[in-house]
């Protein structure tokens, strides 16, 4: 096995290091975050850092770099407290990737990438029409991560829209059947193939595959 020490990491060329370190966490979620500012200008941007935080209350987190291309997303959420998270699917993942380009504030990523926006009653932020599983959130807290000047944005889920066919009897949503993609590293996109679901693990007995 190849071994890297902390010294190796420190002396590494920065783009090589970014690719390497971004590969370490494993597969990442692929989501488009939709926002709007108080003047009605919409924005949509891809994030690979959305993660489950809790089911009750229903909380989702994501990491944002406030001085990067992501800043329009952050400014809009701070203005309106409203945003949507839209799973990226096999039919539009290249357009989703393209939202990460550094467009000017007055250029709308929906128009630039060909993605379509859609709205529902009571929610300010736009959804991505192409996404088959999407939900609206209200901002609850922005937690500063002082170690590297990033922020964790936490929202509570208020409305879920999902293709009926993917919702199974126990509440699990078969996101593979929706064509949801995963990301590895900074730029690699993957579809999935289920190995199995496993029953809740208990000591001294084998889990059941189902």
């Amino acid at each position: 096995m190849k071994s890297f020490t902390q010294n190796d990491l420190t002396s590494m060329e920065s783009r090589y290091r970014a690719q390497l370190i971004n590969s370490l966490s494993g597969f990442k979620s692929a989501n488009l975050i939709g926002t709007i500012d108080n003047q009605g200008q919409t924005n949509v941007a891809i994030f690979s850092s959305v993660f489950h935080l809790g089911a009750s209350p229903a909380l989702t987190g994501f990491i944002i770099r406030p001085h990067s291309v992501d800043r329009h997303t952050l400014e809009n959420i701070e203005q309106t407290q409203s945003y949507t998270i839209n799973q990226v699917g096999q039919k539009f993942w290249p357009a989703a990737h393209q939202t990460s380009a550094r467009y000017a504030k007055n250029e709308c990523e929906f128009e630039q990438t060909g993605l379509s926006k859609t709205f529902i009653d009571g929610i300010k932020a736009p959804f991505v029409a192409e996404s088959l599983l999407k939900y609206a959130l209200t901002l609850k807290e922005i937690v500063p991560i002082t170690l590297n000047n990033t922020l964790m944005v936490i929202g509570e889920i208020t409305n879920i829209l999902c293709e009926d066919s993917a919702i199974t009897d126990d509440g699990y949503i078969d996101i593979e059947s929706l064509g949801t993609v995963a990301i590895s590293g900074l730029d690699s996109y993957h579809e999935s193939q289920r190995l199995s679901r496993l029953s809740y693990a208990k000591p001294h007995q084998l889990p059941v595959h189902f």
Copy 2:
């Protein structure tokens, strides 16, 4: 599309709700976290909440529920400041799942699940021998998330061990070639199939597939 409102979520049966909400973030990473206490008792537990936090410094985060089965992992990290993260692969994912059973503190998940531990010089915490991409971390900060009494544990990466063959010329690690699995919901495991890598997105030009 099926629509759920906040009222629907509040009145939902709790296990159904846990399955549903856990499906929303998209594909999750599958990692085993290895720890040891000051008496030398080792622990290994699966987590689906490990995420990339930054490349410089090289920081990784994960979410932990301090009053759950995860608490031995937390106690050990607090004692020794040392832990390892080990990507879960296609050859041992059922054993990895089994580590989530509620074993007693004096039962070692390595012995109970058949996973093998291995150590390297200078790192207290055990690695999972079967894992083809793994790294050691030093605890940097535990950030309380007061909204739901969870904690975000942040560590700095000090040593990486990876199968040589998976490291590409630009630093990207081909985790698909290592058989790294992804999780959806609470209990579904998936292998992956690459769609493509895409070049860094720039405004007004299409990304290149490679």
